[in-house]
Symmetry: C2
């Protein structure tokens, strides 16, 4: 059931350390030791996070006995992006309504509002 | 910390019933009773899910005493979509590499592979 894999992905992403691990892997494969360094975490703690990410299909591990590099698998993130698409019309619609509202303000306020939004 | 609100959003989305509630709200505001109907769930069970969605800012509730309609708030979903963007290059890169690989196959296999991908 695709709903379940999406739930597993969302649950895996609901942690800032796991998202930071994924961000680190954008630049390429890493060993567990390399991944642990910036987080000041024990290897078992990092391994636990990697296990959650691997179960969700967000990373894969090399099969070399000594060095099992972690590699980012972006497929589940694409599924998340696809899931958000049906809501795009709603958030863009609200922004358009905000624009329409700003156009109803008189010139001085409008000028101010436009300036604020540029910051 | 924006990381925390993103974690709260991902945790709220890690449940198929909560995602189904959000999908239902795309078509407009609903009462809790209307939301409960298709799920064959008790009102307290639905209320619990709504509480999680509300805490994550994914829905808001009307203030009328008798009828507190639920309304979709797509802002946090836009944040999720924005978060996925930095990974787009990776999943598109992999698809491009798959395309490049398919082009190395000889014409008959290539034709077959293209046909399969169209299904």
């Amino acid at each position: 059931m695709p709903g379940d894999s999406l739930s597993t992905t969302f649950a895996a992403l609901a942690d800032p350390t796991r998202r930071a691990i994924l961000a680190r892997l954008i630049t390429g494969e890493c060993s567990v030791t390399e991944l642990a360094e910036p987080f000041d975490m024990s290897l078992p703690a990092v391994s636990k996070h990697l296990h959650v990410l691997e179960r969700a299909g967000l990373i894969s591990r090399g099969r070399e006995a000594q060095w099992r590099p972690c590699r980012l698998e972006a497929g589940p993130i694409k599924q998340v992006a696809d899931w958000t698409e049906r809501y795009r019309e709603i958030w863009e619609g609200r922004l358009n309504r905000l624009d329409a509202y700003l156009k109803t303000l008189h010139p001085k306020e409008k000028h101010h509002a436009r300036k604020s939004r540029r910051k």
